[in-house]
Amino acid sequence: MCALSELETGRDAQVVGLRADHDFAQRLHALGVRIGRTVRIVRRGALNGPLQLRIGTTDIMLRRTEAALIDTHPATVGV
């Protein structure tokens, strides 16, 4: 298991836990980040900037501090 913020760029991972507060968890759900979904970091912003994430057909950006609240299980086979 690893925090989403630590996930290797370009590697698929399954969301296994959200440690966000209620409101932010709701927002993440609305953007498609839910337990069981596959997520990937497309790129990391320069100067410790936000992460570009891909969940299904939706791309979102999320700061690294918030991504640290999402637990993932990286896929064993790289893509």
């Binding site: 409101d23 759900h29 498609g32 912003g45 100067l47 936000p50 299904g56 700061r63």
Partner: protein, 592 residues
């Protein structure tokens, strides 16, 4: 009359649908108990006269932002005959969450799967028959952008309106609704998506647009392109309009008004007509500017700008959205201020609202285009303008940095990066048309009254030299002189600044009245009257000093705080004076 409310998530294409269906007939509407403006339009659907309301795009009916409150307040206080839920088909498995929430409201509903064309390219199919079988709610596939499926959807809406009784939304079961399990069920039945998606061309563009080094260069290049295009394409249009006004002046107005007494002719021609016509020659430039901004905005590029700038903005106590609002403010500060409603934390919202009025809006652009063209050599003018945009951003950055401790906040930042889209000509043209109407509206309210008042101030008491030291205008100017002469602003320009507080569009009109000239003759006079240092100092002061009356009213209504509004007036004024002083004294040292 029946009422239809359009509901949907951001990036679902709801406004494209609204524009397609209602065309140029849309107006800003007011409703009792709803403090914000929503777009509405009257139209005929089937046999029904319908009022269609475009609600703000929201992620969550249960959510916490001001936009989400607006939607709940509207649906809870206004009877609605039919709720039309717009879903981005390409993101249906996620956006149907809003459908599941909306279903608990107990309102008659139709679901439109928009961007069906884009979804098909991604290999995503929506089975509307299965959707209806599963939920009991009618659904259609449409493309609001190209119009496919829209007539059939409207026919369905007309049909549903026949059976519907207007009702008020109920919110009692909203909070308890289980969304995750039904969402999976619904997606399983109605959405056919391939397991992995082909690489989209958005990815290829993003490789450059979001590149750590190329990205910021692309942003600056895009903005520089916009400004240069405004200059290049706008100048001939402006001359054309100018000559039409000149012709009207000499061939129509002068003979027509000849029988009037001198003072009345002076008031009508040198006051109202010169003022308004000088301002009106800028309409093509502004429309062009909004066309280009609409292109940038509709393409999906702005959220990339948010991505690029978030690292910097977070160090200023803001986030990437604040930067996007700042760029939106280049068009007009008022909608940009309203755009901060998507922010939840109040300090973050206030800090964003404090910096937005510093962004160089299209009204200020008019002033700078005019003075820049009149006073600066032609090859310098675009760069002088670009430098003002950079000053505008620098002033915003400085302000945020200085006030970041006072407005400290901690809001999680999550924003969608929609795929790049080619805007349609229709949508861009419609935007331009709305801007022209907006200008005419402001012209009728502020500009005519403003220039008329300037004429009176410069010509009263009776018998004084126009705009001379004995006139009321001259007296006001000499009171303020000790304050403004250190930054090179003289009596005449002071009066233009006073009126710029009402609306920046009035400034050029006011100068036309003060100097008794219009168009290029006014430009020549200004070139003789002002040194480069004075002109640049005046432009900097105009850029940063108090926001216009509309912006001020919006600041107050959105912040609901007099103290904050006062800060948003006093701070920019101080910043403007300081910046103009440094620039003026500095330029004089180097001989400008």
């Amino acid at each position: 009359m029946k009422r239809i409310a359009l509901l949907g998530m951001p990036n679902c294409g709801k406004s494209s649908l609204f524009n397609r269906v209602t065309g140029a007939s849309a107006r800003i509407g007011n409703w009792p108990g709803i403090t914000v403006d929503l777009m509405r339009a009257r139209l005929l659907i089937g046999a029904h006269m319908v009022e269609m309301v475009d609600l703000p795009g929201i992620y969550d009916l249960n959510g916490y932002t001001d936009d989400e409150h607006v939607v709940r307040d509207f649906l809870g206080s206004q009877p609605v005959d039919l709720l039309v839920l717009v879903v981005n088909a390409a993101q249906a498995e996620r956006q149907l969450r809003l459908f599941l929430q909306a279903r608990t409201l107990g309102l008659p509903m139709v679901v439109l799967f928009n961007m069906a064309d884009e979804a098909r390219r991604l290999g995503i199919g929506i089975d509307t028959a299965a959707f209806t079988a599963h939920t009991g709610i009618a659904a259609h596939r449409i493309s609001a952008k190209f119009g496919d499926g829209v007539p059939a959807a409207l026919a369905r809406i007309g049909h549903q309106l026949g059976d519907a009784d207007a009702g008020m939304a109920r919110f009692d079961t909203l909070a308890d609704a289980d969304l995750e399990h039904p969402l999976d069920q619904l997606a399983h039945h109605a959405i056919h998506a391939p397991p992995t998606l082909s690489v989209q061309h958005s990815d290829r563009i993003d490789r450059v647009a979001l590149h750590p080094l190329l990205g910021p260069l692309v942003f600056i290049a895009a903005m520089a392109l916009v400004f240069n295009a405004v200059f290049l394409l706008g100048a001939p249009l402006q001359e054309g309009i100018g000559s039409v006004f000149d012709f009207l002046h000499s061939a129509v107005l002068t003979p027509l008004l000849a029988p009037l007494p001198d003072w009345a002719r002076g008031f009508l021609i040198e006051g109202v007509y010169n003022g308004v016509s000088t301002v009106a020659t800028f309409v093509p430039l502004i429309v062009l500017f909004f066309f280009l901004m609409a292109l940038v905005e509709d393409s999906g590029y702005l959220s990339r700008a948010a991505f690029l700038m978030d690292a910097l903005m977070s160090r200023l106590g803001l986030d990437g959205r604040s930067f996007v609002m700042l760029v939106m403010g280049f068009g007009c500060n008022v909608p940009a201020l309203m755009g901060t409603r998507i922010m939840r934390a109040r300090p973050l919202r206030l800090l964003s609202m404090l910096i937005i009025p510093l962004s160089l809006c299209s009204a200020r652009l008019q002033v700078f285009l005019f003075i820049g063209a009149a006073v600066f050599p032609a090859k310098w003018a675009p760069w002088a303008l670009l430098s003002l945009y950079l000053f505008s951003i620098a002033a915003a950055v400085l302000t945020a940095w200085l006030f970041r401790k006072r407005f400290a906040s901690r809001e999680p930042f999550a924003l969608e990066l929609p795929p790049y889209r080619l805007p349609t000509a229709r949508h861009v043209l419609l935007r331009g048309w709305h801007e022209v109407r907006h200008f005419v509206h402001r012209a009728s309210r502020f500009i005519i009254a403003g220039v008329a008042l300037v004429w009176l101030l410069t010509h009263l008491p009776v018998g004084v030299d126009a705009a001379g030291t004995a006139s009321w205008a001259g007296q006001i100017g000499s009171w303020l002189e000790p304050l403004l002469s250190p930054i090179g602003i003289d009596v005449q320009l002071t009066l233009a600044l006073l009126f710029g507080f009402v609306a920046k569009e009035v400034m050029i009109g006011a100068m036309a009245v003060i100097f008794g000239q219009e168009g290029s003759a006014l430009g020549d006079t200004l070139a003789q009257h002002l040194s480069l240092a004075q002109a640049y100092s005046f432009m900097l002061f105009t850029l940063l000093y108090t926001p216009c009356l509309s912006t001020l009213a919006t600041l107050h209504s959105e912040s609901r705080s007099l103290r904050f509004t006062a800060l948003a007036v006093v701070w920019p004024l101080a910043l403007a004076w300081g910046t103009a002083w440094i620039a003026y004294q500095g330029l004089r040292l180097v001989g400008g």
